[in-house]
Every structure is written in structure tokens, then in C-alpha cells.
């Protein structure tokens, strides 16, 4: 049975090996270059201000590569689900070859178990390798960004991709079993996976652990940590306020007064530089300017709230999300076993 599983999987395995090899080489070469540049840049910039410009420059240089690789590693589990999962049982049922396989002296349970474990392990290993490569490659860029919680970032680093691969594989296999046709199973798997990738970062991941809320009074001390003010006609807020580097900001209120009402920039013309009327979106004064604004507003008893997950929660969240999708993968696999044994065909 082990022989048969891998004989049937041969083409897909070879394709994956070629792609992985190419990816590894590409990651390795560009990653080493990136690290070299990063170290050189860090060494050359003296004062703090210079560094941020240089490093941002580096980050923008790699911007498209960064997004592209994240996209590919996001897509990898979907491809695994489609090309490895959906045909696993679906192709056999579609072409009737299950009638050949199930009559050999091997029970259906064992047949499915070996296929699931064999190809499943390959799926997890593939995703694991891609995740490892990307996590290593993007290390300097993640450091510059200071944000490990971006929707596509979190799901393409460390251990979460492995669980996604296991889940997508189990999903594809189940779809193939239920629909009994490969192509519709592929379509369903893709649709569900895309749905998950949209749903999870926006509604589920932020709530995996209880978030922290903190309210900052607006004064010189608190605003000295801010690195920008974003404002529209209706509201404004301080960017990067008081929350530790790398935290995941989930939501927040704009600047409000002591009775909880949102206030406008042009209510305080004396504190903001430039034309008073209307809001000036995306004003980015120098740092010391922001704390001056904060000092100016201090007497008005304003405050701003932020809801966030601290950066230290990163690994907890990784493990929880991994656990959830691993459990889903296990549940789907269990369902497949149950369906196979029922023999209602």
C-alpha cells in the first residue's frame, strides 16, 4: 500500500520537488543578498533618523518580492488541497479504480490511512519547508516593518502554514470523497480555502485571545512616542501611540473629549500647523512637532483608545491558530474514515 500510494503520487511529488528546489535556490540567493545589504545598511547609518530612511528604502526595494513571496506561500496550501487532496479519493471514485484498489487484500481503512498519512505528511513537509524559507528570508524585512501580524504575514510564517496545509489537504480529500469528481472538488476546495483566508485574519484571528484595551490621555509625554497624525474632516488620531513596537493594533477610537465625543482638528486651530480650516489628511510633521501638538492639546482633556494584541502574544496566537486548523484537519480526516466504512456508495 505504501508503494501504491507513492507510485500514484509520483508525478505530483516530482513537480513539488522541482518547485521547492527552485524556490529554495531563489530564496537562498536573494535572502543572503538581502541580509548582506541589511547588515551593511545598519552599519553605515549612524544617527537614528538616518537609519529609518535607509531601512525604509531597503524595504521598498524588496516590496514586490515581499508581497509576491507571501502570496505564493499563502497559495501553497490551496494548491496542495487542490492538486494533492481533491484527487486522492475523488479521482479513484470518478474513474472507478477504487473498485480495483478495495478488492486487494487491504482493508479500506488501511488504504485510506496510508494515503492520508503519506500524502498528508508530504503536504505538511512542503508547507513547512516553504514557511521556513520565507520566515528566514523575510527576517530583516519583518524587523524593519515591525509588524508580524499582517494578514498575509502571520499566515505565512513559522508553524501556521503547516496547519493550513494539513487542513487544505484534508479539505480537498473530503471534497473529493463527497463530490466523487475531481474537478468540482478542486473548485469547492479553492472556494472554501479562499473564504477561510478572508475570514480568519479579519474576524477570527483577532479574537483568538482576549485583546487589551488602553486609553491614552493626549499630552506631551504620551504623544512623544507617536510617529504621525492621521486625520480627516471627521476625526483624527495619533499613530503609533504608546503601544509597544510590533504590537498588533486591532482597532481604536479617534481622539475624543472627556465626554466621549469625537473631536475635529479644526476645533483646535492653535495647535495644528498649516491652514486651519478643514482637515488635512496625512499630515506628517517631524517628531518634535507631534509632541508640541500634544502639549498644546493637553489642557483639553482629550484621549484616544487603542485595542491591541501585544507583540509578545505572537507565538501564543501561532500555536492557537495552528491547533485549530490541525483539529479541523483531524476532524475532516475522521469524517473521511467514517464515510468510507459506511459502504453506502
Amino acid at each position: 500500500m505504501i508503494w501504491l500510494t507513492f507510485r500514484q503520487f509520483r508525478t505530483q511529488a516530482l513537480t513539488a520537488l522541482v518547485i521547492l528546489a527552485a524556490a529554495a535556490i531563489a530564496f537562498l540567493i536573494t535572502g543572503l543578498h538581502l541580509r548582506h545589504t541589511f547588515t551593511a545598511d545598519l552599519a553605515s547609518c549612524g544617527a537614528q533618523n538616518d537609519c529609518s530612511d535607509v531601512l525604509n528604502q531597503l524595504r521598498y526595494t524588496y516590496d514586490s518580492a515581499f508581497n509576491l513571496t507571501q502570496l505564493l506561500v499563502t497559495a501553497a496550501p490551496a494548491l496542495i488541497g487542490i492538486f494533492w487532496g481533491a484527487p486522492l479519493i475523488g479521482r479513484e471514485l470518478e474513474s472507478g479504480t477504487h473498485q480495483l484498489a478495495w478488492n486487494q487484500s487491504v482493508t479500506r481503512t488501511r488504504w485510506l490511512a496510508v494515503k492520508l498519512v503519506g500524502v498528508g505528511a508530504a503536504s505538511i513537509a512542503t508547507a513547512g519547508l516553504l514557511s521556513y524559507l520565507l520566515t528566514w528570508w523575510a527576517g530583516p524585512l519583518d524587523q524593519i516593518n515591525g509588524d508580524r501580524f499582517g494578514a498575509m504575514t502571520f499566515s505565512t510564517r513559522d508553524i501556521v502554514p503547516l496547519a493550513y496545509a494539513a487542513f487544505a489537504f484534508a479539505l480537498g480529500t473530503t471534497a473529493g470523497l463527497l463530490l466523487r469528481r475531481t474537478v468540482p472538488a478542486m473548485a469547492v476546495t479553492l472556494a472554501v480555502f479562499i473564504g477561510i483566508q478572508i475570514l480568519v485574519p479579519t474576524t477570527i484571528r483577532p479574537n483568538l485571545l482576549p485583546s487589551t484595551s488602553v486609553t491614552f490621555p493626549i499630552n506631551q509625554a504620551t504623544t512623544s512616542q507617536a510617529n504621525g497624525i492621521y486625520g480627516t474632516a471627521g476625526n483624527f488620531r495619533f499613530q503609533g501611540l504608546g503601544v509597544s513596537q510590533g504590537a498588533w493594533v486591532l482597532s481604536g477610537t479617534p481622539v475624543e473629549n472627556s465626554s466621549g465625543q469625537v473631536v475635529y482638528m479644526n476645533s483646535y486651530p492653535g495647535c495644528f500647523p498649516g491652514p486651519g480650516a478643514g482637515g488635512a489628511p496625512n499630515k506628517k510633521p517631524g517628531f518634535d512637532r507631534i509632541s508640541q501638538i500634544g502639549a498644546c492639546l493637553a489642557q483639553d482633556n482629550l484621549h484616544q483608545s487603542i485595542t491591541y494584541q501585544p507583540a509578545s502574544r505572537y507565538w501564543q496566537l501561532q500555536w492557537i491558530e495552528t491547533g485549530i486548523f490541525a483539529a479541523l484537519a483531524a476532524a475532516l480526516s475522521g469524517f473521511c474514515f467514517w464515510m468510507i466504512r459506511r459502504r453506502q456508495n
Binding site: M1, W3, L4, R7, Q8, T11, S95, G96, T97, Q99, L100, W102, N103, Q104, S105, V106, T107, R108, R342, R343, Q344, N345
Partner: protein, 299 residues
């Protein structure tokens, strides 16, 4: 020796559709059993239950004394080739043999190899590139080389040309002669089966209409042609299977243990095709309820 297949009131229902009903069979070993019936009669359902691909919804079945596909040991004793003789298109002939070798403890590699050579199949050729007849032969080889006690074949020759059909049956019979395998094979054409089958099961409208050794069945049935008369006027002890009346003439198909005595009628035996057709027609009759019509004094 016990029966190779023992079914008691076996039934299979899909939602509202009854695919198989009240199926009771006791098939003795050492025969080539022909399962014949029109399309949709339930032949495939019965065979799938027998090899463990499907579970029944009513009744019981035992194959070679055990539950179908109960464990690997039982699976090794039964060989099954499904309709359209599925093979893996991407795997070569040699791969299929390796599949058999790896997955069956009693695999006879020499036998498999000999048959492949006999069939002029190239080991490296992908199964998807073979003709229909060659695929059927490959599937049969895989089933036979695991040395089963029972072979179950679902319409194995239905889509084969006459030459391939004859070749398939020849190889099948050779295997039977060599290994003393019992075979159950289904077809919707009697002509496929009458050369090779010595036990017959007629399955129509999900029910077993007739079952028994071919020779016995042929000996027991007669066609009586006579002047127009009622069934009661026939010699006693006969079961009337079918009656046809014209103004002048009556034709009865009857079944009985003894020879028909001489009288003002002509009595002759039926050939296998007519016998099967009689039961098929009877089952298709809306008035048929499966009751017997005893003749003469037997009432």
C-alpha cells in the same frame, strides 16, 4: 463443502428505490455461475454486496462462509473485477502486477507473468493506452493472480468485440480449470454466458426469478404446444411458468421434475436463451406476483 455464497432475504434500498429485494440464494462451489438479467435488474448491486463494496440494507449474506470484505484474509479469497474493468490509466502493466504483488499475500507472480506474456502485453505500456479487451484481460490477470477461491466479474465482456470476448472467456476458463476457482459472472446477454456457465441465476426487477444448475433447469422445463385448453387440463405436477393462448392453440412453458407423458401435445425442451427470456417476460408482466400455478390434480 459449504456454499460459496449464501444469501437470505438479501435486500438493498437506496432511498425509495429498491435495488435488490428478497434475494435468497445458496450457490454451491465449483461452478461457473451466470447471473443474467436486464440492465437495472440489480446484478451489479448483488455482486457489489457479495464482494463487500456495498452493505445490504436487509437480510444476510455470507461469502465463503464469512462476511464479505470482513478482513484482509477474506479479501484475499475473493477476486472482483468491476464493470468496465477499471485499471489505473497512468500505471503500466508491470505496475499493475507490482500493485497486486505488494497488496496480496498469496500473489502468484509466475502466473501473472505467464499470462501477460500469453496476452502479448508489453510490461511498460500504460494501461490507459491499452484497448478495451487488453484492459479487461489485465484486470482479470490481477484478480486471478492473487489466487482467489471465488472470482466475481461484473459484465466483463459487455463492451468487448467478439474476438476479445472469446479470448477473455478462454483465459477465464483456463484459470478455472487450473485453480478450481468458482466464478460468478454477470451479463445482460445469455449468449455470453451459455458456453461457460453451469449454474444460472436469473435476476429481474430486483428479484431472483430462477436459480439452479443449468443442466437441471434445462431438463426441468418444457414447452408444451397443444390445442387450446386450460392449464388444469395439463398433466399434474407441473408448474406453469407462462401461458399463451390463441384461438386455436395454447403454448405453455412448464416446469416439473419428471418427463412429460405422451399425449395430444408436443413437448420439447427450451434452449437457455428461451428459458431466460421466459422468466424475464414473466417478471415484466404487471400481473405477476410470483405465485405458482399448479396443474392438473395438484390443485
Amino acid at each position: 463443502m459449504s456454499a460459496i455464497l449464501h444469501a437470505q432475504a438479501l435486500g438493498k434500498r437506496y432511498g425509495r428505490r429498491q435495488a435488490l429485494a428478497e434475494c435468497t440464494l445458496q450457490i454451491p462451489p465449483g461452478h461457473v455461475v451466470g447471473l443474467v438479467g436486464p440492465n437495472g435488474a440489480g446484478k451489479t448491486t448483488l455482486l457489489k454486496i457479495a464482494c463487500g463494496m456495498l452493505a445490504p440494507t436487509a437480510g444476510e449474506i455470507e461469502v465463503l462462509g464469512e462476511q464479505p470484505a470482513a478482513d484482509p484474509a477474506q479479501l484475499a479469497r475473493v477476486g472482483y473485477v468491476a464493470q468496465d474493468t477499471p485499471t489505473y490509466p497512468g500505471l503500466s502493466v508491470a505496475d499493475h502486477l507490482k500493485l497486486g504483488a505488494k497488496m496480496n499475500p498469496r500473489w502468484d507472480a509466475k502466473l501473472a507473468q505467464a499470462r501477460i506474456e500469453q496476452l502479448d502485453l508489453y510490461p511498460k505500456q500504460k494501461a490507459g493506452k491499452l484497448s478495451g479487451g487488453q484492459r479487461a484481460q489485465l484486470a482479470l490477470t490481477v484478480a486471478v493472480a492473487k489466487r482467489p477461491e471465488l472470482l466475481i466479474l461484473d459484465e466483463p465482456v459487455a463492451s468487448l468485440d467478439p474476438l476479445a470476448r472469446r479470448s477473455f472467456l478462454r483465459h477465464l476458463m483456463e484459470s478455472v480449470a487450473e485453480n478450481n476457482t468458482s466464478v460468478i459472472l454477470s451479463s445482460h446477454l445469455v449468449s455470453d454466458l451459455e458456453r461457460v456457465c453451469d449454474y444460472l441465476i436469473v435476476l429481474v426487477s430486483s428479484r431472483v426469478q430462477l436459480a439452479g444448475e443449468t443442466e437441471d433447469l434445462l431438463a426441468q422445463h418444457h414447452r408444451i404446444v397443444c390445442t387450446r385448453r386450460k392449464e388444469t387440463d395439463l398433466p399434474s405436477g407441473l408448474e406453469v411458468i407462462r401461458a399463451e393462448q390463441t384461438d386455436r392453440q395454447s403454448t405453455f412453458i412448464v416446469r416439473g421434475e419428471s418427463e412429460i407423458p405422451a399425449g395430444d401435445w408436443s413437448a420439447e425442451h427450451l434452449d437457455l436463451e428461451d428459458l431466460v427470456l421466459t422468466y424475464m417476460e414473466r417478471a415484466a408482466d404487471p400481473g405477476h406476483r410470483g405465485t405458482t400455478h399448479p396443474t392438473g390434480d395438484a390443485r
